[in-house]
């Protein structure tokens, strides 16, 4: 892995990097000690603000693991945008390509949580990332062509995904589905995806197969491979994760039952960062799976969407302490 250490960000002789293409935003979490009631003023709450956006989270995890991550995204010209640029650069993400949109509010996601941790309602404003067009990716083509891996998000406007598929056919592409509601955006574009990461609900939405038992997972994998994908990861919450590829490798990683879970938000983003790390390090599938699981577990133990204490050493230590079994 020595080749992916270091911090050089010059284009000439630049060290291998991951191009993270997708959404950036601000997350506002509403936490309450008392039950939040609809139609009433609820004044005993805490508002917690953090940088978010699924692709930014993936890039932050990668940067904290020592991988060079360049974010291809945009922010509004508001205070949220300033905070995102500052905090993300501080976390080590290369933000030099992030475009500031004039007269635009940064993507915002608000979650309103009840005291038991259940989400009462979540809502997002993603007008900003809707402004990303093919022209933006065209402007950045010189750098994108040098990427070792493209991580993509289905919330990107369709013309961006089509442009990337057309202009960058030889660079491996990892897609994180992120939300069952986004499946329709990419259903007809799966042929461009080399590595797909979905959770159970996204897999069901994509394949139409109800995932009740293990043979269902294999059926879903076959359906995904028929769309053109070569490697598939399905995260299964507290049951662990499943991997299958077109070469016939099949893996299952159980979740650690002893793990204290503090906050599940962001663990999927971290899992995807783990897959990307494995790709950059040249890992075989079993190693990648173990690494991604360890990333997710470290994120589950943090109240934040990205665990700012995630490091390569910590993930490798967690990998050592778990074993995976082939099905």
């Amino acid at each position: 892995m020595a080749e992916i250490q270091g911090g050089n960000t010059h284009v000439a002789g630049r060290r291998p990097f991951v191009a993270c293409c997708g959404t950036t935003g601000i997350d506002i979490a509403i936490l309450s000690r008392q039950e939040i009631k609809l139609w009433e003023k609820n004044n005993d709450i805490l508002v917690k603000m953090s940088c978010g956006g699924m692709m930014r989270n993936i890039a932050e995890n990668l940067a904290r693991l020592g991988v060079s991550a360049v974010l291809f995204s945009n922010v509004g010209d508001d205070l949220y945008g300033q905070k995102i640029l500052q905090d993300s650069a501080d976390a080590g993400i290369d933000m030099s390509r992030v475009r500031i949109e004039e007269g635009c509010t940064s993507n915002t996601f608000i979650s309103v949580d009840q005291p038991d941790g259940e989400m009462l309602v979540g809502l997002g404003d993603a007008l900003c990332s809707d402004r990303l067009g093919a022209a933006y990716f065209e402007e950045n083509m010189l750098l994108l062509q040098q990427a070792s891996l493209l991580v993509l998000c289905p919330a990107l406007p369709a013309e961006c995904l089509d442009f990337i598929a057309r202009k960058l056919p030889h660079i491996p592409k990892l897609l994180d589905m992120n939300s069952a509601g986004l499946v329709e955006n990419v259903r007809r574009r799966m042929a461009m995806v080399d590595i797909l990461k979905v959770n159970k609900y996204e897999a069901q939405e994509l394949t139409g197969i109800a995932l009740r038992q293990q043979p269902d997972l294999d059926m879903a994998a076959e359906a995904v491979f028929a769309m053109g994908v070569k490697q598939l990861y399905i995260t299964l919450g507290d049951r662990g994760a499943y991997y299958r590829d077109t070469r016939g490798t099949r893996l299952f990683a159980a979740a650690r039952p002893d793990l204290p879970v503090i906050n599940t938000t962001g663990s999927g983003d971290s899992f995807t960062a783990g897959i990307a790390y494995g790709h950059m390090a040249g890992y075989a599938p079993p190693q990648s799976m173990k690494f991604a699981m360890a990333c997710a577990e470290i994120t589950l133990q943090s109240a934040d969407t990205v665990n700012s204490e995630i490091t390569l050493q910590r993930v490798l230590a967690a990998v050592e302490s778990r074993r995976e079994q082939a099905l």
Partner: protein, 316 residues
Amino acid sequence: MSGGYTVCIGDSSVDIIGLTDQPVRLGDKNPTFRLSAHTGGAARNMAENLCRLGGRAKLLTCVGDDLYAQQILRDSTAAGIDCTAVRQVPDHPSSSCILLNGPSGDTCVAVGDLRICQYLTGDYLAQHRALLAEAEAVMMCMSLQPDALDYLFDEFPQVPKVVDVSATEHAALARRYLARIDTLKVNEFEAAALVGQDDPKHCPEQMLEALLQMGPTRVFLTMGPDGAMAGDQSGGRVRRPALPLKPVNTTGAGDCFTAATQYCRTQGYDLAQTVDFCQAAAAITMTCEACIAPDLTDQKVLRWVQRYQKGGTHSG
């Protein structure tokens, strides 16, 4: 206004308003919302309205040291409010309120983080004693700490207090100071809570008399679509119907009405002139989307007063 200024005391916040035309799915993500962040807070809004009308306002409020503090200070200063005495509390979030509305009112979530109001204390006000002693008036809502209210009313009896109760839950606190309030502004819900009346649609004339008997020099009672009333201790009584306009956004109209009463006082308007002016100012606010009308000026309000008087829409 001859160099005089009004000190505005109370909350300032960033209000996030979310609207959608899609049905809201509870327990799920709703990606179709349009969110906008507005600089607000009752006391800050009153200060901004007063400045837009041509008055001078100095703001005493607490903000944290976060992004929202930057926004509050930047926007307030740009609106002409003197923010030099604002208290910045380290390592604390500023006030923020989030209001989410589904289509045609199918869901409404309203939450507020108002913890910073605990720093609106008597000690803080005492640091600005000279500022308070020389003010033309103090305009305030009731989100101050009890010791801050006592300090204001005990130490500066000569400075007129213009009070917007601004929430029914503050009625009990406001009742203790009524006799020492110069100008009290309430809506029908706050009036009912103050006089101990269960029904806010109870005869407004009776509620106004009951409030005046509790001691304020002047009382303004706003009643939404039912118009506004005012009364004072020298026997003045005014009642006006609402202006014949369709409201776009009623949030912030009350803050504007209260700020306008203070503007009218500095102009020496009588009670009837004051009600006409304040109603027109509030109507300008209600007919724009923002909580503070960006084009509010005293001249515009006077034009609206003339227009609706010519229209013969009030009983005189």
